[in-house]
Symmetry: C2
Subunit: 107 residues, 2 copies
DNA sequence: ATTACTATACAACAATTATTGAAATATTGA
DNA sequence: TCAATATTTCAATAATTGTTGTATAGTAAT
């Protein structure tokens, strides 16, 4: 995980629409959902959803596979785990004790 | 941690400049650095740095305290930990086994 | 008070990102 | 092949974000 990938992933998560999409896909892992289903559930115009899905796919946050005329999207949980690891390392860099004292009381 | 805060934090981390600033402040936790020192180390014009520091402060990613004519900035590690917790929950929502199988092999 | 120094606010502008509708591409099934 | 469906691409535009220089406000020290 380098800086460039990290910022790309953060950017993918920095929009309400994309965060909604990702959370929906996580809920439906590992099956995933086809584009039309995502659009219907989140009530987003298909062109706009396509725009965001393309960005997320490019960043590697989601994967896509073709199923006939459908495109099935799945959350990339491995990348998400790598991001969490990166964030943990960045957060605690040189000061691990501080980091895990502070915020662990989050319900 | 709600969606609004999460997107604000992701947005804070989604820029190369801001990610650099944050990582620098984490390295210097818990002392922090004054604005001029950050600008010098990262070679960013002070006005531009101020713009980004303001955004990060607003999002809660960093804290600031006045020291005479200096402004000292510190990484907010508690918020970072809360974000990691949020991300872990989002990532594993309904499928914890999948998440931690996949990406844990990150050095 | 005045001079120097630190940092932010403001204004102008550049660049990027988001949204929408219409058109295009590709697949399915009659 | 033809009509129907699913999704993306494209073009136009709106909205947001990033960068820079100049001006301002505050602090420090003489």
């Amino acid at each position: 995980m380098d800086k460039e990938l990290a910022t790309a992933l953060f950017e993918s998560l920095a929009s309400g629409v994309r965060l909604d999409v990702f959370r929906l896909l996580v809920k439906h892992a590992p099956t995933g959902l086809v584009a039309g289903e995502i659009a219907a559930r989140l009530d987003i115009p298909s062109t706009n959803l396509s725009f965001h899905l393309k960005a997320m796919t490019h960043a590697g946050l989601v994967n896509v596979t073709q199923e006939g005329r459908y495109q099935r999207y799945r959350a990339n949980l491995a990348v998400m785990q790598a991001l969490i690891d990166y964030l943990t390392a960045e957060c605690c860099n040189g000061n691990p004790e501080k980091c895990f004292d502070a915020g662990s009381a989050s319900t």
